[in-house]
Structures are given as structure tokens and as C-alpha cells.
Symmetry: none
Subunit: 192 residues, 4 copies
């Protein structure tokens, strides 16, 4: 009994094409037929893997977000001190954000426009739970300002997206030195 398998490769090709095309053209300028062409499949094939365009983008979003989280907390050890822990996580986030431009831009676009189902986005910054936990510890032991999580995120994490875009779009390079500066700025804004 030989059954064909829906190929995971095809699915990935579709997801990747979606990311690239949505990044460069925006969601609604990205025709399903173009996604199909870039993934080397027929338009109809997309519908074997995804329910419709919205579903394709939702799943792509969740997938990228998972990649992000997985990368960021891989190797992270909850036993580290708050100071160390923060720097470790921050540098992972920086690495992802600055190197995986496609992923970051895609997440950005999804977070700033109504192209994603409310449901898919709703979690907010919950996916960074270990970081939020670290902040709790930091606040308790007096290392980190007792700000709202949103505030801490806004000043210590979110700026990285802007820097990545600035690097991409304008004449601005992010080398070793700048990343260290960024870390200092981040840490200074939230440390006590």
C-alpha cells in the first residue's frame, strides 16, 4: 500500500515564498499565483497545504514566531543570575533579529498591520515567558526597574527591530561595537 506523502519540503517552500514576497510587496499585493510560482508548485497545490490565503499567512506567522522563540531560549538556563540571564537572552534576540532579517521583517509587518487574525496574534509578548519570568525575579531582587512588562520590552527589546530596519534601509551598519552600544542602552534603560 503505497501512499504519497504531502511533502514537507513543499510546505516549507510555500512558507518561505510567503515570507519573502510579503516582505517585499505586502500581504495584499502578494498573489497566491506568485507564491506558487516561487515555490515551484501550481496555485491549486497551495490549497492542499493551507485552507486559504489567510490561513497560509497565519501559519507562516506562527511558524516564524516559533522559530524566533526556539532560537532565543535554546540553551537558556533559568539558573543564571538576572544580570547574566538578561544579557544572554538579549544577545540571542539581537542575533536573531539582526541576522534573520526576513523573519524579523515579516514579524514586524504582521505585528503592525491587520494582516493576521486577531486570534493568531493575541498572545502579545507571552511567547517570551522565560524573559518575563526573569524580569519578575529582577524586580524582586531589585536589579530591574519595577516597570510593566510592556515598558521593559519597549525599551530593552523592541528597539532591535528598528535597528535592523535602519540597517537594511539606510546607511547604517551594525557591527560588534554598535551591538555592544545597543546592549548598554537597553540595559541602562531598565536596570536600577
Amino acid at each position: 500500500m503505497a501512499k504519497l506523502q504531502k511533502s514537507i519540503d513543499k510546505r516549507n517552500a510555500l512558507v518561505n515564498a510567503t515570507i519573502k514576497l510579503v516582505n517585499s510587496n505586502g500581504f495584499h499585493e502578494t498573489a497566491m499565483s506568485k507564491i506558487a510560482k516561487m515555490a515551484n508548485v501550481s496555485p491549486a497545490t497551495i490549497y492542499l497545504y493551507f485552507e486559504n490565503k489567510q490561513d497560509l499567512v497565519n501559519q507562516t506567522y506562527l511558524e516564524v514566531k516559533t522559530k524566533y522563540t526556539d532560537f532565543v531560549f535554546k540553551n537558556y538556563n533559568e539558573k543564571s543570575s538576572v544580570t547574566n540571564g538578561f544579557e544572554i537572552i538579549w544577545r540571542r534576540i539581537a542575533e536573531f533579529t539582526l541576522n534573520e532579517c526576513d523573519y524579523t521583517m515579516f514579524l514586524n509587518q504582521c505585528n503592525n498591520t491587520p494582516i493576521i487574525d486577531e486570534a493568531s496574534r493575541m498572545e502579545g509578548i507571552k511567547h517570551l515567558q522565560p524573559l518575563l519570568d526573569l524580569w519578575i525575579r529582577g524586580k524582586e531582587e531589585g536589579t530591574i526597574k519595577s516597570y510593566s512588562d510592556y515598558m521593559l520590552y519597549a525599551y530593552s527589546i523592541n528597539p532591535l527591530s528598528f535597528l535592523m530596519i535602519a540597517q537594511k534601509q539606510y546607511n547604517f551598519q551594525l557591527g560588534e561595537k554598535e551591538i555592544n552600544e545597543a546592549f548598554q542602552a537597553a540595559w541602562n534603560s531598565i536596570k536600577i
Copy 2:
């Protein structure tokens, strides 16, 4: 060159409708006919005021950006000290960003997606020239870290957009206290 007999009211209505609809539905989900309806004009009338859809959005973007800049630097006096000057400007930006949600969200959407002509967006953060000048002074006199303008902007200004969105979308309130916290975080990240 047609005389400006065209009603400025109608133009404004169109611009405002564009902002509202693009904010809630995104650029490509916003049909010209809906913009027309919301502005109480015929679709054809739009083309008396704007060349096409792209032009409408571009002009809207530039207009909002101008409103932003005008508001921010109104009353600003270049004679102030770096410390004072920064706080004054920052608080104006905060006021605009947090109160004029429609404008801010629209700018955000334009800055994070390819809905605006490269040309219209190209200026980057040049529109904040007086702030950039202040930063130069600050770096010279040793009050402000000698970071790139993009870095300074990323940590002291950009987070406000995120906070506004967090306030809109999640259960997070920005009162007097939080704004002061935000200012502290901003200042700590860039001050020497």
C-alpha cells in the same frame, strides 16, 4: 496649473478617511470606493485631488508626518540646554504619539510595510532635524552618548510607538506615572 478652487475640506475628508480605513483594514483592503463613501464624495472625485491611490497614500503620509513634526517642534527653542531641550521635545513626541493614535498607527504602518513609495519615505528620521541637532550638541558637550542617530532614536524615541500600540491592543494603560517611567528609561539609555 488649475486654480485651487478645489475644496480643502473635501481633500481633508479624503485624507482622514484614508487614515482611518488604512488603519483598520490595511492599504490593499481599503477600496477607493470606500474612502470615497466615508468622505461623502464620488469615487471619481478622488481623482480630482489625487493622481491615483498610491499618490493619495503618499500625500497622506507626508501630511501626517508634517503634522507630527509641526506639533513636536512648535514652541521648541534651540537655546535650551541639551537636557531640558531633550525633555521638552520628548514630551511633545510622547504627547503626539500617545494621543493621536490614528496618526501614529498610520505612520507605523507606513514605516513597517511597503505601502509607501520609497521616495516618500526616504528621508528616514531627517524630519526630526532639530532633535538631531540637539543630539550633536549633546555629544559635543558630553551629555549624550556618542551613538549613531539611529541608535539614539531607536532607544529614546521609537519605543513610544510600541507603547501606544500596546495600550491600544492589550490591557496596558499609560498614565502620568508610566509616561514618567518611559522618559526615565529613554533618558537613561542615551545619557552619559
Copy 3:
């Protein structure tokens, strides 16, 4: 203030094209583009006059049914005796059914398949109210069998559709003589 009018001619052309094409190809084989072409308009124009394909067919159905009823009861006088009244109505129905083949076939197709919204069809044979009233009188005075309306309709009216189709499709002509035969058969089946 010159306003253009949605042209009633265009609407009629669309309705007529629908009838013809649905008759010869069936509902789902009839592409909107073909209807448009036959009516000499752009496909998009259809949507100025009708909400969608379903609406187009529903409205066409109701329009044809109205034409039918109007034709049948024009000149009908409720004062006539049951016998006379029945013959008068019957002959009008026969005239319409046998001459207006397109209309009759269309009604037939709508009545025998699920191409019409339940709502649009729901009235059943209510549109023949004056005939139903006549039958009531006939039953009361003992001229007409006390059968259900459906039964009376099935035997005295409905056969005409079949005859029309037989005439169209097979080698069967309906002249003066045959129509008289049909009337006799109809009357004999329901008279007391």
C-alpha cells in the same frame, strides 16, 4: 445636476441572456462572462445590477413568474362561472406555456432543481391565487372534484409544461386540435 441612470435596458438584456443561457446550458455551466457577453456589457457591470450570480437568477425567476401570472390573469373576471372561468384561465396558461417556451423552460428548470433560493421558490402555487379561488367555488357548487389544490394543479395545469417540452424536443406538434384535446383531458380529470 446630471445623473446617469442605471439603464433598464441593460438590466433586461441581462435577464434575457440569463434565461437563454440557463435554458441551453444549465445554471452552473452558465458563466457570468457569457451572460455579460450576450448582453453586451462587461462582466463587472452585472454587479451593478445584481448582487451576485444567485441574486441574478433569483430575480430572473421572480420576474418571469410575474410575467407569467400577469399574462394569465390579465382580463380575467372573477364574475365568470366556474366552467367558463376555468376555460378562460386554462387557455391563457396554455398560450403562455406553449408560446413563451423560453420562459416556461426556465421556470421548469428552476422548479425542478436546487438553483433557486428556497425563499424565492417557497410560494409554491400561491401565485395562481385567482385560480385557486375559482377551484374553491367549483368545489362548493359541486362542479369540481374536492381534491387538494396540488392534485387539481397536477392534472389540469402541470401537463402543459410536459407538452411544451415534448413539442420542443420530440417530433410532436401542438395545433388547435391538440390544444382542444389537452383542454378536454384537463377538464375531464377534475370536473365532477
Copy 4:
């Protein structure tokens, strides 16, 4: 010529699924994949049994028509008198028409719309040959009006389909009494 190793069960399942789905959704709303699903086979399997969709429906039509004829003339004895013979056949037709709703509806839909190849339908009412023969005898011996077969059919047989649909769709029940009424009406319309 492939041996008939193909499962007759599967074929029947396909035919039955076709009948049910076409009845409730119409021909062109009935996707091959849905027929396959209802028959518990793969879409591809259909093409082992039928050339294509049209062939599937054509064969289904002929099969149902055969069931109809077989049922109607089973036990029929050509020796019966015209009067008796007609009643016997009529009652068999009535039984089939009123009980086998799925079959009847399917035949109806095929007869009233262009979903069947002209060729498959062409026989008209030839499949009722024993009845047509009976009518010939009836006309010769002066029991039955010398009408065209189509006329006789239209008034004595065809109304049953309408009654079945009325029963299905509207608030109208066909019990013993009504069936007898129907027979009287039928007979009265064609008897001399």
C-alpha cells in the same frame, strides 16, 4: 477489454452517491471529490469505472431509468384487458414514483435540464413500450381517447412526478385516498 474484476459494490456506491448529491445540490455543484468521499473511494477510482463526469451521470441516468422500467412492468401481463392493464401499470408507476423519491427526483432533474447527453435522453418515453402498446389497443377498441402518446402520458402519468415533489416540498400528504383520486383523475382524462 478488461475483465470485470472491478467491484460492482463500488460502482453501485458511486451511482448512489451521484443520485443523492445531484438531487440535493444539482449536477454542477456536485464535485467528483464529494461523490468519491460519499462512496468511500478515492477520486481517481471513479475513473476506473467511468470515463468522466458526464459518463457517470449518463450511466446513472440510464441505470435509474432501467430500474424504473423493470419495476413498472415486472409481473405485467400483456393479456390483461386495457382497463385492468392500465390500472395495474399505473399503480406500479405510482408506487415507484412516490416511494423511490431519490430515483424520481433524479429522473426529473435529468429530464428538465441539460445535464444529460442528448443521446442518453433521446428515447423519450419509448422505455414505456408495453404501456404504449396498451394504449394502441385501447384506442383500437375504443376505450382510450385517440390522443398522441405524449398527450396520454402528459395527463395520465406525468402528474405523478409533480405530486411527489409537492409532497416532498410542501405540506401535502399522499395517502391511500389521494392515490385513488389521482388514479381517477388520470383515467378520466384519457378514457373515452
